[in-house]
């Protein structure tokens, strides 16, 4: 296999990355100029949106393109789809950050966010171990900072520190795995590596050990059990927009590399390994859901719920089929828009009420019927109720499991969905049923937030009701990994 090193058409493959870099610079410049503090957020959000549009038009992979830049990146449907998803998350996160005190007016905040997104875009395309590692670190380091962004808030600092320690630890382990892999095969390119392994010169036991090391790194990113311990504390402590971002974009990025990695070795993924993945999926779903039951803080609840959702999404991967992968991509898209909506409400509520306790959400439906309705949509979508995105997404991953003969896994997923429904309904019960003394205090909803929330809600319903085009998109994405 020869890997083309450079060709002007390859610029398209890194178009979003380049534009993001430019955007980050622009934001810093404007910040230096010291004008339009609140404009920074708008600028970033508009920049994300513009890049999103440009990418959709000019960044599409062409059939002939595969590896670019000497095999560093692969420009295919998967990378394209995930990039679009990250850019969407970035735009929404900027909108959500605008009015958050001590965050929304800081240029470096937005710059870091943009750089992290850049890293994710690279993660989505990375097909070389070195590129992969660089991309992951480009993503992670800004996120560590962002998590601890509120320097005078103990919890935020704790969150940043914890995230950093866990992240550094797991990426070291992962890097160790990478180096072993390189040492054994002499290759860093993922697809060449796979060819070597297919040659049968590497012992299975060795590969197993390496896989465990690498899985630690990916598992950390997607917050799968048993690499999930950081999640609740980080989610709780980080500024809420960042929590939203970590729980959506960062998780999706982890899945992007995981999918690419697992499927690159697909013919060699022994049944044994698919069983390990299935076990991880089961544990992740179950533990996430069970622990979520006991939470009293909405951010912690969403943290555990995000763990559980990683488990559902893994079902699509475990199916190891084209449809399974498509269902995973669709699931992530559905999850991302839903979780962003949920966090948007959390942020808004905290702005007015200054609390993240679930019990304080009492009376929300009277204080702000619109927000309550948004909460209803988000929670039910997370629970998997039609006509919302979460329902269709769950049906797809379960269908993928059944298609691959993993009926037991579908049943586990179904049982977990029931547990999940319980705690989501509990939140809704508080929102709609309980009264509070603050009922006459309305909750202010700035226009930016309304825009973000509305976008997400429309997306949730749109994905749920008209899922055919999106599924088609996901299927094309998956095909690119199987071709």
């Amino acid at each position: 296999m020869t890997l083309p090193t450079y060709d002007p058409s390859m610029i398209g493959a890194v178009l979003p990355e380049l534009l993001l870099l430019a955007l980050a610079g622009l934001v810093m410049l404007v910040d230096l100029a010291g004008r339009g503090r609140r404009g920074l957020g708008w600028l970033s959000a508009a920049g994300f949106a513009a890049i999103l549009v440009l990418t959709l038009y000019f960044g599409r992979p062409t059939a002939s393109q595969g590896m670019v830049f000497g095999g560093m990146l692969r420009h295919d449907g998967t990378s394209f789809a995930f990039k679009v998803l990250f850019l969407f998350c970035g735009a929404i996160t900027c909108l959500l950050s605008l009015d958050v005190p001590r965050v929304g007016t800081r240029g470096e905040y937005y710059s870091l966010l943009i750089v992290a997104t850049l890293g994710m875009c690279l993660m989505a395309g990375a097909s070389d171990l070195i590129m992969l590692y660089l991309a992951i670190e480009t993503t992670s380091i800004p996120l560590y900072v962002l998590a601890g962004f509120l320097k005078d808030d103990v919890k935020s600092v704790e969150s940043g520190m914890k995230y950093f320690l866990f992240g550094a630890m797991t990426s070291a382990v992962m890097l160790y795995g990478f180096s072993l892999l390189y040492g054994a095969t002499g290759q860093t390119n993922l697809y060449l590596l796979a060819e070597v392994i297919r040659g049968g010169q590497v012992s299975a036991l060795f590969l197993g050990g390496v896989a465990v090391l690498i899985l630690a790194g990916f598992g950390f990113k997607i917050a799968a059990v048993p690499f999930h311990f950081w999640t609740p504390d980080v989610y709780e402590g980080a500024p809420t927009p960042i929590t939203a971002y970590i729980s959506t974009a960062s998780k999706a990025a982890g899945f992007a590399v995981l999918v690419r990695f697992v499927l690159a070795f697909l013919p060699d993924v022994s049944p044994y390994w698919s069983a390990v993945l299935a076990a991880i999926a089961t544990a992740t779903m179950t533990l996430g859901n069970l622990l979520a039951l006991a939470q009293t803080n909405i951010k912690r609840l969403l943290a555990y719920s995000s763990i559980a959702h990683a488990g559902y999404a893994l079902i699509g991967l475990v199916a190891l089929s084209e449809f399974g992968t498509a269902s995973l991509v669709f699931y992530l898209a559905a999850y991302v828009v839903t979780n962003l909506a949920a966090f948007a409400i959390v942020i808004l509520f905290a702005r007015s009420a200054g609390s993240d306790r679930i019990a304080d959400y009492a009376g929300l439906s009277r204080r702000s019927p619109g927000l309550a309705l948004g909460m209803l949509v988000a929670m039910l979508s997370l629970a998997g109720m039609p006509p919302l995105a979460g329902f269709v997404a769950k049906v797809y991953v379960f269908a993928a499991a059944v298609e691959s003969g993993l009926i037991w896994l579908a049943v586990v997923g179904v049982l977990n969905a029931i547990v999940g429904l319980y705690y989501y309904l509990t939140v809704l019960k508080v929102v709609y049923l309980y009264r509070s003394d603050d009922e006459n205090k309305p909750i202010a909803v700035p226009r930016t937030y309304a825009l973000a929330l509305l976008t997400c809600v429309v997306a949730i319903i749109g994905l749920g009701v008209v899922s055919a085009p999106w599924l088609g998109w996901a299927v094309r994405t998956a095909q690119s990994l199987f071709s």
Binding site: S365, P369, L373, L376, L380, M385, P386, P387, F391, V395, F398, A399, V402, E403, I407, A410, V411, V414, A417, I418, L421, Y422, L425, T426, L428, K429, Y432, L433, S467, A468, L471, G472, V475
Partner: protein
């Protein structure tokens, strides 16, 4: 293209619900009139479908099919046959009367009607669905508004518990059925969720036997089959009046109907294999439900358990797998729907005035609200299977079918009828006759015009069907024949 009447029926409520949400919440009367207008529209269209359905032609009519998720063979497909046309009408009736009964609701009526209408759209969608995915999609839409409706507007004492219990039970049932449906989808190899196509799938007998229980019982949970009936009385009791009407009147039919469509029709061999179990459970439903109803002290619980008992007859009718039984089950679904809507409407009216439902504390209500008493008596007679009322028309064929299938069951289940008579007479005697407790004297306001219209409509239908069974029975029979076609004649 023909006029998409079924789609309009399905989407009328939810569109109305959205419009309602756009109306300022303080304009409660406007909200109510919009709700009523939507209900009238849905009712008249479903009546139109019912009346213009070509009985001679039978089969699926008013069919509309649009690709929905073509890559998975999922389509938006609606159509009615003899089995569901009456159920669509039933939903229209319950929706209409439910709005009338809820006229006096004062706590956030806008949200109430909006959620109620989302529920109604779900119900309509299931009843007309001809695609399994479509069916499941709307099935869940019908389930979750229930949670809010009960939790927010329900009876304060048990609403949280009941709402949660109900939602979880139903959700469990539906997701279990989902797995079964996915198994059917892949096993058929037809790459479609269309029920008419899957009917021809020729699943192996072993497959049918394995997958019948999850599909059938998954849906039958909502039909209140023993031992999964536990959610239903609690749910009925905790729900506000209109929701109880919907819940017992329509939602339980939803479960039974889906169990018939997805379970019995698509897995006929499985149905044959498991029918003795369903017969057994249905019998328990009928007899046990009636016994439990008899010992209740709460007016609404009596009716709640009576629903369990009556839905048992529907299950029995299904399990006979013959023409009489299925026809009877179809009729019973309609008859019980109207009857129980009437019951809950009456219970609601009594409770709104007396603020208690303890039977021992009530009495003499026939004097202050004679029309309500008459309506309840009509409902009671239907419940007892009194000839001349719709209950008899429905139960008679079920028993005929039982004689054919399993006579012992017919004889045991008949016990349920006697017990039913006993508890119904007891309630009528205690609540509506007898001495009125002193604290109520002069404190019971009369029922409103809207209430009267609702009661008269419901009671009138029960009598009409009882006196002239031919207005509905041949239609349902054609629906039963549609099912039998798949069971290999009979």
């Amino acid at each position: 293209m023909t006029f998409p009447v079924l789609s309009i029926i399905v989407f009328t409520p939810i569109v109305a619900g959205m419009i309602l949400l756009a109306v300022p919440g303080q304009r409660k009367d406007l909200v109510r009139w919009i709700a009523l207008a939507a209900a009238v529209l849905a009712l008249s269209l479903s009546l139109y479908v019912y009346l213009t359905y070509d009985r001679a032609l039978a089969g699926y009519q008013f069919v509309e099919t649009y690709p929905w998720i073509p890559s998975l063979g999922i389509s938006y497909a609606v159509g009615v046959d003899g089995m569901n046309a009456p159920l669509v009408l039933l939903t229209g009736i319950v929706m209409f009367t439910g709005v009338l009964i809820s006229w006096g609701l004062d706590d956030r009526p806008r949200e109430f009607f909006a959620f109620l209408f989302i529920l109604a759209t779900g119900v309509f969608g299931v009843f007309v669905g001809m695609d399994l995915f479509h069916l499941l999609f709307f099935y869940e839409i019908a389930v979750f508004p229930m949670f809010l409706l009960i939790a927010i507007w329900g009876w304060q004492v048990t609403r949280e518990y009941a709402a949660m219990k109900l939602t979880l039970y139903l959700f469990i049932g539906s997701v279990v059925a989902l797995v079964g449906i996915l198994a059917m989808y892949y096993a058929s190899g037809l790459h479609t969720f269309s029920m008419t196509a899957l009917e021809q799938a020729n699943f192996s007998v072993g497959f049918q036997k394995t997958w019948f229980p999850p599909v059938f019982f998954g849906f039958a949970v909502l039909g209140g089959i023993f031992p999964f009936h536990n959610w239903s009385p609690d749910g009925h009791v905790a729900a506000p009046t209109a929701v109880s009407m919907f819940h017992a009147g329509v939602l339980m039919k939803l479960g039974a109907y889906a169990a018939l469509r997805a379970g019995i029709m698509l897995l006929p061999e499985g149905a044959k294999f498991w029918s003795p179990l369903i017969l057994g459970l249905g019998t328990v439903n009928v007899v046990y439900g009636a016994f439990i109803a008899m010992v209740q002290t709460d007016f609404k619980y009596v009716i709640g358990f009576s629903s369990v008992s009556h839905m048992g007859l529907v299950m029995l009718g299904f399990a006979t797998l013959n023409r009489e039984g299925l026809t009877g089950a179809g009729l019973q679904m309609f008859s019980h729907g109207v009857m129980t809507a009437l019951f809950f409407a009456v219970v609601g009216m009594v409770y709104d005035r007396a603020h208690t439902r303890e039977i021992s504390k009530l009495g003499g209500f026939s004097k202050v609200m004679p029309l309500v008493a008459v309506a309840f008596i009509v409902g009671g007679l239907v419940s007892m299977g009194m000839p001349g009322f719709s209950g008899f028309v429905a139960e008679f064929p079920i028993f005929l079918g039982l004689w054919k299938a399993q006579p012992i069951v017919a004889i045991v289940a008949a016990l349920g009828i006697v017990i039913t008579a006993a508890y119904i007479m007891r309630v009528i005697g205690r609540v509506f006759f007898g001495e009125m407790p002193a604290e109520f004297e002069g404190h019971i306001p009369p029922v409103t015009r809207f209430d009267r219209v609702a009661l008269v409509v419901l009671a009138g239908i029960l009598i009409l069907v009882g006196v002239l069974p031919s207005v509905i029975a041949p239609l349902v029979q054609s629906g039963a024949d549609n099912v039998l076609r798949l069971l290999g004649g009979a």
